[in-house]
Symmetry: C2
Subunit: 306 residues, 2 copies
């Protein structure tokens, strides 16, 4: 393939109780990327639109992924990537993951689909390592596979796809403030009480069961994070108020998207999700802090050619 | 109903990574109990066969459950229970839970099915509290519901049934030594590293997904407990040897049943489970410690009238 244009979705990682192991992909929000085979070897990056991300491949999330793939295959040509960010960096909805998994997917197309999906997840983690210092796949795996994706283990990589109930929708409020992933990780306590861990894994097991059973009420009851959210939510202005508003407007549950600052709420039905988004928005509208709002279905496909 | 005879199954709780939240019921091992309506109010207990369990209702696991149910309903009659233990107390395969859930189920039959399944689980926990000092349902819920049962939360009680893959079998080795549940709980560390907790809940999510997907390999990969097993296994002679023998003989995975001393191994197919049981047995046969061995399918029904 000489040229391909793709859509790489935004993702919500952690999903409340399932810290560091679960994520899901969005339908309506994501990046667009064009990949072109070029005669000179190596990687060329062009940022479309307004972006201050580096175009030096070694300093760019998509760039390091592409470089590693080319290094492995050693083709006689190179790849140019034109990246149009639809997700703001530092938003907490997988901006770096969309670039990293988009690059893995797109470069693989140009190379003639030589890598498996699992290998693409492995490559995508190089981008995440550059972005946050941690090799993790809880955003890139759902971006690549779509739907809800469990990363049971990173070493060795074990990705499990989880079905997504048809009528599940997400509302996201993205406050226009920056929360560094690195810092959001640093403030976490190194140890937790066993009794809290047991509660948490009861909720994780409940959430996974709820997704398989399409039991919306069980999903709602399970969306409780007593370990990470109480600490990280301090970094997010008006978190308790937004959460309360979302649940009162009918959301199944609500939490921090990734390491924040975005907040997500899951709802049964699009109408409810729109109403929930309105309620979340209302809290911020009164605060004077800038924000963006998204309502989306769960993306069942992951990265795709457009 | 004036008289009913029931079978109440043995259960494996904790299931490796899923400490305190998951259990499953056995097909081949359990207690038999007869319930009779009697003219005088209150509870009468008779132990069939060789047993040194108390027949004073207030000191008997089945007795306290029956007393609480009669207290709630205030019938004009009483209940006599004839209990034939098929499960040795202190075995780690839910001896007290079989009595407690059997009593809840049987007394409910005599009372005319006035209580819901969830209420029966609530009553059964009174028996567990008497036996171990802790109100828990990870044995009694699977004994009542059958199959794999998640107890997402005890307060409020939230029980979730999980499908059991058709071809899943369990091998159990019960060393004839006593491990007190109370002590097995006391030696656990009060806190755990967050990174270990994350690994554990990745495995729990993998195990639940494997059960829903009938993915035996995923079930096997997920049967890892890095938090409780390393501590409790010290109380069980030859634990690492038995585990190694089970896995080498083809088991998907292996762990401690409940708080021990029984060890369980899950296998795909009955033939493999029999071979695994042989391998586990071999380790103990050479040790001189007395043991019992069981091979069983997963009980899909739970307590039942026979």
């Amino acid at each position: 393939m000489d040229e391909v244009k793709i859509f790489s979705p935004a993702t919500v990682a952690n999903v409340s109780c399932a810290f560091d192991i679960l994520g899901f992909a969005l339908e309506e929000v994501g990046d667009e990327m064009i990949f072109q085979k070029i005669p000179q070897k190596g990687v060329v990056i062009e940022m479309a639109g307004n972006s201050d991300l580096s175009t030096v491949p070694e300093e760019n999330v998509a760039g390091v992924v592409a470089l590693a793939m080319l290094k492995k295959v050693q083709p006689s040509f190179g790849v140019k990537m034109i990246i149009k960010k639809g997700i703001k960096p530092g938003s907490g909805i997988g901006s770096s993951a969309a670039s990293a998994s988009g690059a893995a997917f797109g470069v693989n197309k140009i190379l003639g689909d030589v890598f498996s999906m699992k290998e693409l997840v492995e490559f995508s983690m190089l981008g995440e390592a550059l972005a946050s210092g941690v090799r993790h796949a809880d955003n890139t795996a759902p971006a690549l596979y779509g739907g809800f994706t469990l990363v049971r283990s990173v070493d060795p990589l074990d990705v499990v796809t989880i079905p997504s109930p048809k009528n599940l929708f997400v509302s996201i409020l993205h406050p226009q403030i920056e929360v560094k992933t690195l810092y959001a990780r640093k403030i976490l306590k190194k140890s937790v009480l066993l009794k809290d861990a047991v509660k948490q894994w009861g909720n994780i097991a409940g959430l996974i069961s709820g997704l398989f059973k399409e039991d919306y009420a069980l999903i709602g009851r399970s969306l409780q994070d007593i370990i990470v959210e109480p600490i990280r939510s301090i970094l997010i202005p008006l978190f308790p108020e937004v959460k309360k508003a979302a649940v009162e407007a009918g959301a199944l549950g609500s939490g921090i998207s990734g390491s924040g600052p975005s907040m997500f709420a899951l709802s049964e039905g699009k109408e409810t999700a729109v109403r929930v988004a309105e309620a979340m928005k209302q809290v911020y509208a009164e605060s004077g802090i800038d924000y963006e709002i998204h309502v989306s279905g769960i993306n069942a496909e992951g990265v795709k050619v457009i």
